[in-house]
């Protein structure tokens, strides 16, 4: 039986009186890729941010590697070392070089040997074809390059699970491909467990083992990847997919 990395049970999230997430239930096994799809404001980003404790939740339970998460800041801080996250706005640290961006958390948070992490970082930079930019500052890089570095920065922590929150949404069209290619490789070659929020439907269709379709903070359907794009179960999802076609 496949190892379960993350499970969410009956999760409710509120902003004040307004309920942002309604009774969310799903799980993801090791090596699986789950994509969260849905219209803007459907709660995809809120949900993915809840999964590493960046957003709090009022009710429900999250299990990480079979262990119930006690939602306090200390516990989340420890768990986040195993849950990598990449954001829409890249958010590299502007005052540090590319290499220092990558080294910071593994050395300071995990206390790993700097030289060892540096070697690993260079190998990762090779993989994303940015080794020559190791000593550049983020300001000298394009958006696509920054996002690739942000992925490397997260990978250097050796995460068990990667969260991608609309990571190509603010990139120029020709930059998108390079970033998506890396994510696809992570799945194909490294069998990385990933949860992905995206608006790139072709990409989602290629990578998703499972699609969660959200609307108004609810999971309307949970369907295996290929099936979702060929035969969505709900009319709403079919309508959504049609609207994405040109």
């Amino acid at each position: 039986m496949a190892e379960e990395i993350l499970k969410v049970e009956h999760l409710d999230k509120y902003y004040g009186d307004w309920q942002a997430l309604h009774d969310i239930n799903f799980s993801i096994n090791k090596g699986e890729v789950v994509t969260l799809l849905g219209p803007s404001g459907s709660g995809k980003s809120t949900l993915i941010r809840t999964l590493n404790g960046l957003e709090s939740y009022r009710k429900g339970t999250i299990y990480f590697q079979g262990k119930k998460v006690d939602p306090n800041p200390k516990e989340w801080q420890a768990l986040r070392q195993k849950i990598g996250m990449v954001f829409q706005s890249y958010d590299l640290f502007p005052n540090l070089t590319v290499m220092d961006n990558i080294l910071l958390a593994p050395t300071k948070v995990q206390g790993r040997d700097k030289e060892e992490v540096r070697k690993e970082a260079l190998a990762l930079l090779d993989r994303v074809e940015l080794r020559k930019h190791a000593d550049s500052y983020p300001r000298q890089l394009s958006g696509g390059q920054k996002q690739r570095i942000a992925i490397v920065r997260a990978l250097a922590m050796h995460p068990e699970l990667m969260l991608f929150d609309e990571v190509t949404a603010s990139l120029d069209p020709e930059m998108v491909r390079g970033v998506l290619k890396i994510i696809k490789e992570l799945s194909d070659q490294d069998h990385m467990t990933m949860i992905i929020v995206t608006h790139e439907m072709n990409f989602a269709a290629k990578i998703a083992d499972k699609v969660l379709f959200l609307e108004k903070g609810k999971i309307l359907e949970e369907t295996p990847g290929k099936q979702f794009f060929d035969h969505p179960q709900t009319d709403r999802a079919a309508e959504f997919l049609n609207s994405m076609d040109f």
């Binding site: 960046l54 801080q77 958010d91 005052n95 910071l104 948070v109 500052y137 942000a150 997260a154």
Partner: protein, 219 residues
């Protein structure tokens, strides 16, 4: 304007000049330290300390330095705490300046984008590590304009030390005027002396502000 009078007063002004520089230096360093600690404790909402700091900042910013100095110099001895005039001056400057610096740093720290903090948190950083590696370096760069303005402000505030008989620049001038009644000459030297301190300093701080901003954010 009598140049001989000016010339003869220069050794005494030189003493005052040095003292103004020294008191400003110590006071400003102290104010920066107090300001950073105050501001970080409020930024991270440290229980109790944050509230105390909030009260301190309001009291210090909303009372004149003159009154704070009178308090330190005349009221404290009544309570059994007697300090030299210069000590009172430095403590007063740190008390006032620390609050202004705290406000300036708070502005800078709050300017650090929330998404930067999220990305630090997502890497597993503790609050202390966020402060050390993200909030502080970026917030410090953002608070440079306020820091520069406060430094200039505090140097000018040292002129108030004259009321508790600290022989800094202004006190020196007032003393000389009292003794020799040559107010034009002495006031002229006084203005020039402050200008010699402040004008190069402003030029330097403006340059530094740009450097730090570029070094941190690249624009």
């Amino acid at each position: 304007m009598n140049w001989t009078v000016i010339q003869q007063s220069l050794p005494e002004f030189a003493q005052g000049f040095k003292l103004t520089l020294w008191l400003s230096f110590v006071g400003i360093i102290g104010a920066i330290i107090v300001g950073i600690i105050s501001s970080l404790s409020q930024y991270f909402r440290v229980p109790v300390v944050g509230k105390i700091v909030g009260a301190y900042v309001e009291i210090a910013r909303n009372t004149p330095l003159l009154i704070q100095l009178f308090f330190l110099y005349y009221a404290f001895p009544v309570m059994g705490i007697k300090m030299a005039a210069q000590t009172c001056g430095i403590i007063g400057l740190i008390f006032l300046g620390g609050a202004y610096m705290a406000e300036g740093f708070t502005g800078g720290f709050n300017g650090v984008s929330k998404s930067q903090l999220d990305s630090g948190r997502a890497l597993g950083m503790s609050d202390f590590q966020l402060a050390r590696y993200i909030v502080f370096p970026q917030g410090f760069a953002l608070s440079m304009p306020a820091l520069a303005a406060n430094i200039i402000f505090l140097i000018k505030e040292t002129s108030i030390f004259s009321v508790i008989a600290i022989p800094e620049l202004t006190n020196t001038a007032l003393d000389l005027i009292g003794m020799y009644y040559q107010s034009n000459e002495y006031l002229f030297v006084l203005v020039v002396a402050y200008a010699i301190i402040l004008i190069p300093l402003i030029v330097f701080l403006t340059w530094l502000e740009r450097r730090v901003r570029y070094g941190t954010f690249g624009d």
